[in-house]
């Protein structure tokens, strides 16, 4: 496991959207997927995922349905909606813009001033 990074406020929603954009997932699955795609760098307090999931569902970005899990257990699966996909796109663009700006700012040297 690599070095762990602290999750910035507001970024959990973006991560969930990204995770479910790769296929329908149950809550625990979302958690594993985030760990997987972040290379284990991002870890989330397990239960904290759910208020975010419900919020996104309430906002119409994801939708849920009950299904059967890989070990034959009834589980609730989440899927990205069209609105959610659009949102993910917008958020990704703005995130990248922020990261770029931050990186540029932090890389500044006295010579450039």
């Amino acid at each position: 496991m690599g070095q762990q990074a602290e999750l910035l406020p507001g970024t959990l929603d973006l991560l969930i959207l990204k995770a479910v954009s790769l296929g329908r997932l149950h809550g625990y699955g979302v958690l594993l997927r985030i760990e997987q795609i972040s290379g284990g760098a991002l870890q989330i307090q397990q239960g904290a995922l759910y208020p975010a999931l419900y919020r996104l569902e309430h906002q119409g970005f994801i939708t849920s349905e009950w299904g059967t899990s890989e070990n034959n257990r009834r589980a609730k699966y989440y899927r990205l909606t069209t609105t959610g996909r659009r949102r993910l796109g917008q958020e990704t663009v703005s995130w990248n813009r922020l990261v770029e700006a931050m990186a540029r700012s932090l890389a500044a040297t006295p010579q450039e001033m």
Partner: protein, 887 residues
């Protein structure tokens, strides 16, 4: 849009199925923990260990659930959920503040009662219901004459046609109404309303006789023995509830009949009938448009709607119109709910359906007035609740500091108001029942009431009362709660700093002043009304009225003079009777007032004097002890010939003629007051009589004119002067009258001084209602003043304490506290008195003035009382304490 839908769906799920959502979350969390535990087990943990670690990693499910509800926007809704504790607290508040409980619940109860009673009346008017099984399927069938714009009553031919061709309305029957004397085999009798009716009436109403049998088809055949079925009331009053009356012989006027049955209590179909005899229409086959006037009823066939029956009837009507253009060209048959057709609220056009729905809408809209009344009362009770909430300010601020949101506090205060409202609703519903009884009695004073009118609240009205209660309680609870909780944060700081934050707004001052004004005005009105009632009650008839029996005589057409003379003769031969006289109206009854013109003077010079008029017979003046003071009374010839003569009373001479000689002068009367006034013929004054009471009124004396009583009236009053108690003579009078003429109907048999009772009863009901309203407004405003004053003064405790500490004069301080309150009360009283003076044209009597004065004293007293208790408390505060509290 999609997003909005998703939000609404999620919100709705959360609100509706709170426990379902909760269960889903639990399941989802459990699955999560299980999956994590399974992973941990695979990486070498024991099962129990894995489960423990998975749970610990997951965190607190309760917290996530709470956060989840918040993220769905459900927390706000949760705040407005009532808990059982809120209501328990409400009950405790009822006991802790008994004054508010009594005043608030009574005021709300009154508003709920008035609203519910009005709703019930409107419902009974707009959608009357017959109290029979499926009573709404009983219908009235009638024929509308489109040319004459009225109902065509001669329907014998149509009844036969409809009976033969109409399939969607069954058990068609008809009736006509007549008033008859029901004379028992003992010779006693009383006038009754008779329905000559088809036997199918009893099938249509699904009602059987309680004794014997109802009418049957065989009774309708020509030559069948004459039978009669009597109603419960007739059975009780005329036969004293004798259970062996079946088979007894009676007479209806001259027609003998045998009683075959008694109908159960409350049955009065078609409308207000007490006796039923068979209708024998089949005996004669009437031509179209001929035969007696009848009304037709029937019952909708099972499953048939009114509109379908109407359609079928219209087709039959068109056929009849084509077959008999002479009589039926303009006739359009209609079918309508039975009670609806007899409702006082009617449409006089052919497009009934549209008109009816409009009329109904109009009727139901009238409820708005009572909703506004409720809101007005609520505003008052809200004021009291505000004072209570303000007194609990520290508790509320504390709760807020402990984390209760504003919504939660408002919800709790609304719950308290709901408890108060529930008490009010119970009282209000009981009061509405009483109010309905009073209204029904008032209507019954003026005329008879159809049997489907009832003085109890139906289920919809009770539900409506519930809605009013919730509306009222919400206003009463939410208004003060919102005001008290506004800016809780600021208050929190102020309380921490030791200062009170709440203030009464100017709007409450206006409400209080307006209310005091209204209660002064209403008190004045009520006192005035009491005086009026007392004056009418003590109206001097100027004759020993307690020695007379008064009775109204009536016959189907007109009363022949020989019958009147025969009756008089028989009565006078009874040693108990000293005198008998006839008149159109008797002293104390309502005399028509007409504008007089005196010959040789214009109406202007007599300033349009009005005189009360009555027709009397020759013995009238002698019988009522009104001696002729000048000229003469009527002579026998003057009752038949067309010589126009009148006798006037003393007041007429005095007021209309200015005490000049009356005999020989000519007067005439305005008979129709239109654009072109129509005057009657000139009449010569032949005599002047001593003043005798006419219409009972507060003025006591009125100008009066007597005309000779001409024969031919359908009804006339008779006064019988007796040697001993008139009440005990009533039965004898009836039997003498029945022996004289069986068709002569006697009603309103009472002592002569009882005539004015009806007028008095009306006034006393009005007076009582005014007093009731007055008491309510007074109670509300006194409670309002008390709570505002004591609240305001207790707010200033610290300030007063400090002022005393700094050496302020105590008397001056109390004065300044009182001045503000007294100014409010004073301005209210001044406005109220001004209103009353404006409306009543000046305070006419010393008594009213005294009442207003007494009122002022009481109001001021209450005001002082309200201030004195907290003011004393404030003055008693030790200066050091006051200063310490401030520091």
């Amino acid at each position: 849009m999609m997003q909005l839908l998703a939000r609404l769906r999620s919100l709705w799920r959360g609100v509706r199925g709170r426990s379902d959502v909760e269960a889903e979350m639990n399941e989802e969390f459990a699955v999560h923990v299980e999956m994590r535990a399974a992973d941990l087990e695979r990486s070498g943990h024991s099962h129990a260990d894995a489960l423990r670690q998975a749970r610990s990693e997951f965190g607190s499910p309760a917290r996530y659930k709470e956060e989840a509800r918040a993220s769905r926007g459900l927390r706000r809704i949760d705040e407005f959920r009532f808990s059982w504790l809120d209501f328990q607290l409400g009950f405790r508040m009822l006991l802790r503040y008994p004054g508010l409980t009594i005043v608030g619940s009574l005021a709300l109860a009154l508003a709920i009662a008035v609203g519910a009673a009005a709703f019930e009346i409107v419902t009974q008017l707009a959608r009357p219901k017959l109290p029979f099984p499926q009573g709404d399927r009983i219908v009235s069938l009638f024929s509308w004459d489109a040319a004459a714009n009225r109902k065509e009553p001669r329907l014998s031919y149509d009844l036969n046609t409809w009976r033969r061709d109409l399939k969607l309305v069954q058990d068609l029957g008809a009736y006509r109404t007549m008033r008859r004397n029901l004379i028992t085999d003992q010779g006693t009798g009383a006038p009754v309303l008779v329905a000559e009716i088809s036997a199918s009436a009893f099938r249509v109403t699904s009602t059987s006789a309680m004794l014997g049998r109802e009418l049957i088809g065989a009774d309708e055949r020509a030559g069948a023995p004459p039978v009669v079925v009597v109603g419960y009331d007739v059975w009780q009053t005329l036969f004293s509830g004798d259970s062996s009356l079946i088979g007894r012989s009676v007479r209806l006027d001259n027609m003998p009949a045998t009683i075959v049955g008694v109908m159960p209590k409350g049955f009065a179909f078609p409308a207000l009938h007490g006796v039923w005899i068979p209708l024998r229409l089949a005996a004669v086959q009437h031509e179209p448009g001929a035969g007696p006037a009848i009304s037709i009823f029937g019952r909708l066939a099972p499953g048939v709607r009114l509109a379908e029956a109407q359609a079928e009837l219209a087709v039959i009507g068109q056929r009849t119109s084509a077959d008999f253009p002479n009589t039926h060209e303009h006739l359009r048959p209609h079918v309508m709910g039975w009670a609806q057709d007899r409702s006082p609220v009617q449409c006089s056009t052919v497009s009934w359906t549209n008109c009816l729905s409009l009329v109904r809408a109009g009727l139901y809209t009238s409820n708005l007035v009572f909703i506004v009344f409720l809101l007005l009362i609520c505003a008052n009770v809200a004021l009291l609740m505000f004072a209570r909430a303000a007194a609990r300010e520290s508790e509320i601020v504390m709760r807020s500091a402990l984390g209760a949101s504003r919504g939660r506090i408002v919800t709790q205060l609304v719950a308290e108001a709901l408890v108060l409202g529930a008490v009010a609703a119970v009282i209000g519903i009981a009061m509405a029942g009483v109010a309905l009884k009073v209204v029904l009695r008032l209507i019954a004073l003026e005329g008879e009431v159809p049997f489907w009118w009832h003085a109890s609240l139906s289920l919809p009205s009770i539900v409506y009362a519930g809605v009013l209660t919730i509306l009222g309680a919400t206003v009463v609870g939410a208004l003060p709660a919102l005001k008290v909780t506004r800016g809780l944060g600021t208050q929190l700081r102020q309380v921490a700093a030791g200062a009170g934050g709440l203030q009464f707004g100017g709007i409450w001052t206006v409400v209080i002043v307006a209310q005091i004004a209204l209660s002064v005005f209403l008190t004045g009105l009520a006192v005035y009304s009491v005086q009026l009632t007392a004056r009418i009650a003590s109206f001097d008839l100027r004759l020993p009225a307690h020695e007379y029996l008064s009775v109204r005589l009536a016959m189907a057409d007109s009363i022949p003079s020989n019958i009147m003379q025969e009756l008089k003769h028989r009565l006078l031969s009874d040693p108990a009777v000293t005198d008998v006289t006839f008149a159109g109206v008797l002293p104390g009854g309502y005399h028509e007032a007409l504008t007089v013109e005196v010959d040789g003077e214009t109406v202007e010079t007599t300033s349009g004097h009005r005189a009360q008029t009555v027709s009397v017979d020759a013995d009238f003046f002698e019988t009522v002890a009104a001696p002729v003071l000048a000229g003469r009374g009527f002579q026998s010839g003057e009752f038949e010939n067309d010589r126009n003569v009148v006798v006037v009373n003393e007041a007429f001479v005095q007021r209309v003629l200015g005490d000049r000689n009356a005999i020989g002068r000519r007067v005439r009367f305005l008979v129709s007051r239109t654009a072109t006034n129509t005057w009657g013929p000139w009449h010569e004054i032949i005599g002047v009589v001593r003043q005798v009471g006419m219409t009972a009124n507060p003025e006591q004396t009125t100008a009066g004119v007597y005309f000779p009583l001409r024969p031919g009236a359908a009804s006339v009053h008779m006064a019988v002067h007796l040697r001993s108690r008139p009440e005990s003579y009533a039965a004898r009078l009836r039997s003498i009258a029945l022996a004289t003429e069986p068709t002569l109907r006697l009603d309103q048999v009472r002592r002569l001084d009882g005539i004015k009772d009806q007028e008095v009863r009306w006034y006393s009901i009005v007076t009582r209602a005014t007093f009731g309203a007055c008491a309510l407004v007074l109670m509300l405003s006194l409670a309002g003043i008390y709570s505002i004053m004591s609240f305001t003064v207790s707010r200033r405790t610290r300030e007063i304490g400090i002022r005393v500490a700094l050496g302020a004069d105590r008397r001056q301080l109390v004065g300044s506290i009182l001045a503000r309150s007294l100014a409010k009360v004073g301005s209210g009283i001044v406005i109220g008195v001004a209103l009353f003076v404006f409306a009543a044209g000046g305070i006419k009597s010393l008594k009213v003035g005294l009442i207003v004065l007494a009122f002022t004293i009481v109001m001021t007293g209450v005001c002082i009382l309200a201030c004195i208790v907290p003011a004393r408390r404030a003055l008693a505060v030790q200066p050091t304490e006051a200063l310490r509290a401030e520091s």
